[in-house]
């Protein structure tokens, strides 16, 4: 299907090119053989500029009509709604400006396309006009800056209010590990120099640190809904970036330092699976996957929606497949799950 589509497009383009060349050439039959635009060229290209304006609007409308559905679903974090609202307002401003300026630019290109004998207007300056289009961006941008900065300061304020759970996200080529701080809710000290793979100390925890004893190391991130999470990020080798798009959250993981991000998940995985947008997306995706299955291709198992943590900073060969599942659940489910996990001390002891 895709191949056919591509072929059709290519054929159409070839026809378009030959037609355009012909058209431009025909337009010159009667005039002198010069490489400078004549009235006929100006006229045709003026029309084309107007057509191009329609094309720009067309591709905009097409993209919105066709691709709005692929965008991320409603934010699943407390700060996400504010983020989405600011994004929406910014986009409204962008589209107003885009529609107007492109219209003026291309319409002028069409309207004033040159003709022999026409006289252009000598118009070099107008302080009033220039003042207007300096001051309008100043005001609009000042509003956006203030709003953005206010939101930014709130999001990036990682503090210990509201009893957050402390979770470490640990990045390495090419997988993620999470570490919960345990009953004391304090992460034990750690450094790559204490990594001891033979003794299951994969994150380099300090065995002599009493805070480390109850830490829990897992490969799947579980979060209780409605409770703030303070993430502490580490990386053991190269730069990685912990990207959790459904929560409008991202922070780089930098070897040699601990970076932080904090958010409160507000929608459980189960609730999100019932969100109409997500239901539709899963349906569409599974239709694609069913087709693949029929052809015996890979990646064709039916999909169930899950939150996901992706690596979003180039980190090497398998960068494209560095992920961890995130499960947001009720407080009870979370407590039950965390109780089943092994803490650090017994885990080490069992190896010895």
């Amino acid at each position: 299907m895709t191949t056919l589509l591509t072929l059709v497009v290519l054929v159409l383009v070839a026809i378009a090119i030959s037609q355009m060349t012909k058209m431009f050439e025909l337009s010159q039959l009667t005039t002198e053989n010069s490489q400078i635009a004549n009235d006929q060229d100006n006229k045709i290209n003026g029309y084309l500029l107007f057509a191009f304006l329609i094309f720009i609007y067309g591709i905009t409308i097409f993209s919105f009509w066709k691709y709005t559905k692929v965008l991320l679903p409603t934010a699943a974090s407390a700060h996400g709604a504010e983020y989405d609202y600011l994004m929406l307002v910014s986009f409204i401003i962008i589209f107003i400006v885009q529609t107007l300026t492109q219209a003026l630019l291309h319409y002028f290109g069409y309207k004033y396309s040159g003709k022999k004998g026409n006289k252009a207007l000598f118009y070099a300056d107008n302080d009033k006009l220039e003042f207007i289009w300096t001051i309008i961006p100043v005001i609009v941008l000042a509003g956006l800056i203030l709003w953005g900065l206010y939101t930014w300061t709130e999001i990036m304020d990682v503090n210990d209010e509201d009893d957050p759970i402390i979770v470490e996200l640990y990045a390495q080529q090419f997988n993620w590990t999470a570490r919960y701080a345990g009953d004391d809710n304090v992460l034990g000290g750690a450094n790559v120099r204490m990594i001891d793979i033979d003794n299951a100390n994969i994150l380099g925890l300090d065995p002599s640190d009493s805070y480390a004893a109850d830490d829990i190391i897992v490969k799947e991130l579980h979060l209780p809904v409605g409770r703030k999470v303070n993430f502490k990020m580490r990386s053991q080798d190269v730069l990685h970036s912990a990207y959790m798009p459904h929560f409008r959250a991202q922070m780089n993981c930098v070897p040699g330092m601990i970076t932080e991000f904090s958010f409160t998940p507000i929608t459980t995985t189960a609730e999100m699976r019932l969100d109409p947008d997500v239901v539709d997306k899963v349906k569409r995706t599974n239709a694609i996957r069913a087709k693949k299955a029929a052809l015996g291709e890979d990646n064709s198992d039916p999909w169930e929606f899950d939150y996901i943590l992706l690596c979003n900073k180039i980190c090497g060969k398998s960068h494209y497949n560095m992920q961890m599942k995130i499960i947001v659940e009720t407080e009870e489910e979370y407590n039950k799950w965390i109780k089943e996990q092994k803490t650090f001390k017994p885990a080490i002891a069992s190896v010895n």
Partner: protein, 608 residues
């Protein structure tokens, strides 16, 4: 000041006349010190590098659209990196990296600014040559050497550099982190160090020439906007490129001599490395201290070219000449204090992020002023829609579309979720990649007669080239914003590991098809370019009826540009369609007044 300079240069010219006939093939075409020849050398080297860079983008676009599929062309071009015609993940990252490096530095910095600064600065200010022809020659040959080294790096055993064009350590510093960080990265760094030296020599020369060698009457406020753009570009190049050199040197030390400037606490492949106390964030600061001004080093010359081409072809003065100069200077100043917006989520202090958000959104103001001034320049013009003019209009269109999404990315809050996604890729390709390329094309179509002794490029092929490119550029990069907002990260070899991206494959196919067509359209340009060099029809001395000084020189090229004395300048460059009190053109029957024409008795001078 300029009068003295004028006299000196004149003396030089007489002296020069004696040597004129002695030129050999080597001194004329290879180790030439003539700015016009050097400009052609820059352009042709840039176009060759551009062909490589664009070809690479087609290869990796095909991989994204049809992940893991086997293509004979992959095996033919990539050899062992595409066993059975299926592209390897390491070479995918290498292609992305080298595509970025080549397009940003070798095509849009050297190929654009190098070509047109060299060609136009002496011709438009009325000078016989650059302040130092020798340094100018050295600058080109260093650029050539760095291009050769970069191309050679594609053939090393373990593959070329593959850490992204920003080569963030530790990935770029540790050969065990990826194969491209071995010999390939060493060559990348050596090539870039030489490139920086070349760029600095060039820039210093441009600055000195513009300040010292303007002809009599050519005050700073009579300079064409092209020269203002090249001049300011050279200044920000001199300020920021040395910082990249220091970053590259420190990275070389970390890689080869065991220092810890950028590295700390690393455990890789079962082993703890000795590095302690360095910070990758420091590298990011140093890199972007150049990296962001670099965007404007690429863009300002394109905007300068557009100003000149648009005004000439609109048969109208550029609107708000002084505001344009002020905008160029404001953009240049702000460009050096916004680099942190690439690092909002790098682990840098969030307060610092706030400061950079503030400065970043400020830069939108002079940019908006420029866009509005271009639009007003078209208003009530008598537009001569030559290919150069169409590319100039196209530049304004993509500059607006791409620039507007900068409002999202420059806002630290909104950046969180689109950082490093395809949204960023779409944004910068439109605002700096496509826009600057359009500037390059506009310049080539417009000044081709000046470069190749009066020959002109075929306009019909130029029209076809423009319209296909214009449609395809939007076809590739407009839908790409949606891919980014769906959360797809850039630099993924394939998106099949995430079922949530399955339904985006269609969009990827659409973009790739547009990209292939766009690349094909560039072949039309290449054919037109080469063919016109040999078979182009000679036009008149001043084919576009332009006011600037370069069109007062004869067709044939010789060292010194003007046979007689250098012309004197009496007015600014933009007296198009100027009329007297009775509504008649200043020069009857002619809608332009070249800069060399003295003011008429009752004429009022603009702007001085």
């Amino acid at each position: 000041m300029s009068a003295t300079a004028h006299a000196q240069v004149d003396g030089h010219e007489e002296d020069h006349g004696h040597h004129h006939h002695k030129e050999t093939f080597v001194t004329k075409y290879i180790f030439s010190t003539d700015h016009k020849m050097i400009s052609k050398q820059y352009l042709i080297t840039g176009l060759i590098m551009g062909t490589i860079g664009i070809a690479m983008s087609i290869l990796f676009r095909m991989q994204i659209a049809w992940p893991g599929e086997s293509f004979p062309i992959f095996e033919a071009v990539l050899g062992k990196w595409a066993p059975g015609g299926v592209m390897d993940a390491d070479i995918y990252l290498a292609l992305v990296t080298i595509h970025g490096t080549i397009m940003v530095f070798f095509v849009l910095t050297a190929g654009l600014s190098g070509t047109f600064s060299n060609l136009l600065i002496p011709l438009q200010i009325g000078a016989r040559d650059m302040a130092s022809g020798f340094l100018n020659m050295v600058s080109y040959w260093l650029f050539f050497l760095s291009s050769v080294i970069m191309v050679c790096s594609l053939f090393v055993e373990a593959g070329p550099a593959a850490a992204g064009w920003t080569i963030y350590p530790p990935l770029s510093a540790l050969p065990m982190a990826q194969p491209g960080s071995g010999m390939g990265m060493t060559l990348w760094l050596v090539s870039m160090a030489i490139f920086i030296a070349s760029s600095l020599l060039g820039s210093l020369n441009y600055i000195v020439t513009v300040i010292n060698l303007r002809t009599k009457g050519m005050s700073m406020t009579r300079l064409p906007l092209t020269i203002w753009a090249f001049f300011v570009t050279a200044i920000i190049g001199v300020i920021s490129f040395p910082v990249l050199l220091s970053a590259a040197l420190l990275l070389i030390m970390d890689r080869s001599f065991g220092t810890s400037f950028f590295l700390s606490d690393i455990f890789i492949q079962g082993e703890v490395l000795h590095y302690q106390g360095g910070s990758p964030v420091l590298y990011e600061h140093l890199f972007w201290f150049l990296g962001h001004p670099e965007v404007y080093i690429v863009l300002l010359p394109a905007l300068g070219i557009t100003s000149e081409v648009m005004s000439t072809n609109a048969r109208k003065p550029i609107f708000g000449y002084r505001a344009m100069i002020a905008s160029i200077i404001a953009i240049a100043f702000l460009s050096t204090i916004v680099w942190g917006h690439h690092m909002f989520i790098s682990g840098m202090n969030p307060f610092l992020g706030s400061v950079f958000t503030f400065t970043t959104l400020l830069i939108a103001i002079p940019s908006a002023v420029k866009a509005f001034n271009y639009i007003t320049t078209l208003w009530k013009g008598n537009l001569q829609l030559n290919p150069g003019m169409l590319f100039s209009i196209g530049l304004v269109s993509t500059f607006i579309t791409g620039g507007l999404t900068g409002i999202v990315l420059g806002d630290s809050t909104l950046d969180i979720n689109v950082h490093d996604t395809y949204f960023v890729v779409a944004h910068f390709h439109l605002v700096m990649g496509i826009s600057a390329l359009y500037g390059l094309f506009a310049g080539v179509y417009h000044w081709f007669p000046k470069m190749f002794e009066g020959k002109m490029m075929n306009k019909n092929l130029g029209y076809v080239h423009f319209w296909i490119t214009a449609v395809c550029a939007y076809g590739v990069f407009f839908p790409m914003h949606f891919v980014g907002m769906a959360g797809v990260p850039r630099r993924y070899y394939q998106n099949t590991a995430f079922p949530m991206f399955d339904e985006l494959t269609d969009v990827q196919v659409l973009m790739t098809v547009f990209a292939i067509i766009a690349a094909g359209a560039q072949l039309i340009f290449l054919y037109n370019f080469v063919n016109s060099i040999f078979n182009g029809k000679k036009g008149s001395l001043n084919p576009w009826s332009s006011n600037t000084l370069e069109w007062t020189t004869p067709h044939e090229h010789f060292h010194g540009n003007w046979h007689g004395p250098i012309p004197e300048v009496h007015r600014w460059a933009y007296d198009y369609s100027k009329v007297d009190a009775n509504g008649e053109y200043i020069i009857p029957g002619q809608d332009f007044v070249p800069q060399t024409v003295p003011l008429q008795p009752d004429e009022e001078e603009m702007h001085h």
